[in-house]
Subunit: 338 residues, 2 copies
Amino acid sequence: MPTGKRKEVAGHTISIDLGGTKMLAAVVDGQDQIVGRAKMKTMARQGVDEVIQRLAETAQQAADKARVKWDQVAGVGIGAPGPVDPEAGVVYNPPNLPGWKKVSLGPRLADLLGVPVYVENDVNLGTLGEYRMGAGRGTRDMVGIFVGTGVGGGLILDGKLRTGFRHAAGELGHMVVLADGPVCGCGRRGCLEALASRTAVERDIRLGLQAGRESLIPELSKGRSLRLTSSVIAKAFHKGDPLVADVIRRAQWYLGLLTASVVNLLDPEMVVFGGGVVEALDDAFLDPIRVTARQHYIQKMDAGRVRIVPGKLGDYAAVFGAAALVRDRAAGIPPARD
Amino acid sequence: MPTGKRKEVAGHTISIDLGGTKMLAAVVDGQDQIVGRAKMKTMARQGVDEVIQRLAETAQQAADKARVKWDQVAGVGIGAPGPVDPEAGVVYNPPNLPGWKKVSLGPRLADLLGVPVYVENDVNLGTLGEYRMGAGRGTRDMVGIFVGTGVGGGLILDGKLRTGFRHAAGELGHMVVLADGPVCGCGRRGCLEALASRTAVERDIRLGLQAGRESLIPELSKGRSLRLTSSVIAKAFHKGDPLVADVIRRAQWYLGLLTASVVNLLDPEMVVFGGGVVEALDDAFLDPIRVTARQHYIQKMDAGRVRIVPGKLGDYAAVFGAAALVRDRAAGIPPARD
């Protein structure tokens, strides 16, 4: 048992983001500060055992950087893409880790590290982070919408993360907004992701350029092959690029319709938007979404009380979400089943 | 306190459906049997006081028919359209009762009847009924989709009715499925209701007839002005009417897409379909919806475990939902806030 100067025992948590190419670990202390970090390549091709070994090493490196010993760590929270079983700590078939099928990631890593390891979907952790330490603090209901190369989402309902009957909830990027619309990365048509993700925005900008539309994009890319990062898109948008403005406006329209659909279905207290384009454009991005959404609420009563806001944690949402997850579980709060 | 033969005390509940033109009351006993009914005109034009008086009379008549005394009644559950505050028993602005604004229906009727009165949205009660006594028994998560002149919905998440932050949840008829699509009764475009309600089906059949499409509808209507009831539509569909088949197929497509969107967002255990057309066509109606929905699930894992089924209670779903509501509240279970 801890005595004397070891008073911080178990006040730290370690968050790991398990990506297809790299894994990132961060130590969060009891005051919500990141006090150590580490990064390694995932090396997914070398197989499950090797990846789990590398996760243990990355966690160890982060702990070393933070000068934190394992008896000061309450647990490790891992965010993985795709559905996970948070009770069993099982990762099903993460889209970015081919060959992983029903891997008992939580128990196996816990064996290596000697502390509890909890597993959750990465976007769910981002949502939980914004809810507990970010934009959603103080609400009981919050929908997270993260616009990146895809569109991910998460739901906090009645104060709890909803993971769903099959642990597959929150996939609002694959809600159909325009039936028979453009083909999505998932192979179907008209999903929000095919209309409003950065991938969709890039596709439409490129199509516009190919069609000879006037744009600042070639100049901003300085002759190199077109690099349509969020910041290049944001720069062109702010300079009044007519093509980019058109394309962004269209994405905002669909995001507004989707937001209204989600509000009409769930009637949440808050919708938090995150992701590269959102962060780069901030209110210039959210304002038209707010207008379209509100126009499409079926219930006008108290419409202004439903807040649509940017996230506050940026890239760190999932890090803090994992910290919140570990703290809850260490305190005996069971994972949300649904 | 009850003694001897008065053992049934408080085993009964009274359900009232408050419609714009009529009000229906039903007494449900402790064995889920309807043992008495009554019906009166709403007479909404005569004002709030008169309507509340008539609600009391209708409840009294139903109790008389059932030979039930008020000390045998645990409470009254009222279903009203539009948002309600179930904690305060307040009805906001029901679309079919013009002039009603923030009416304290529950407390006022409770004063008249001398028993507790609980108020809930009528579609939420239908969902609760199917969940507790119908198709959804034994699940923890259930989405109700009711296809009628409009499309209504309700959500049971984690065993509780979700009413929403503004008590406006479940409006899946106004989720946008086809951006910039046909105009909806709500004034916006592309809502599910504008694509798949009986109103939308009727509209498209009439347009087809006007355009000279071949159809059995004129014959089935026997020369009278076209009566496109659910049973006429079902009859034409079963006889292979090409126009009706086209129109129904389209409605099913949109209902399938919407079902997939809701499953992708919420990942529920079951989706229950109710309403006139669904009941008239049953599996012939649901099978194509099942196929389309499943094609559009982003998470294929365990897709077959998400059941899409017809309701079991038909027109009585809300009656039983009101009974369940009264029993819960009488047992001290608070209303779902969100």
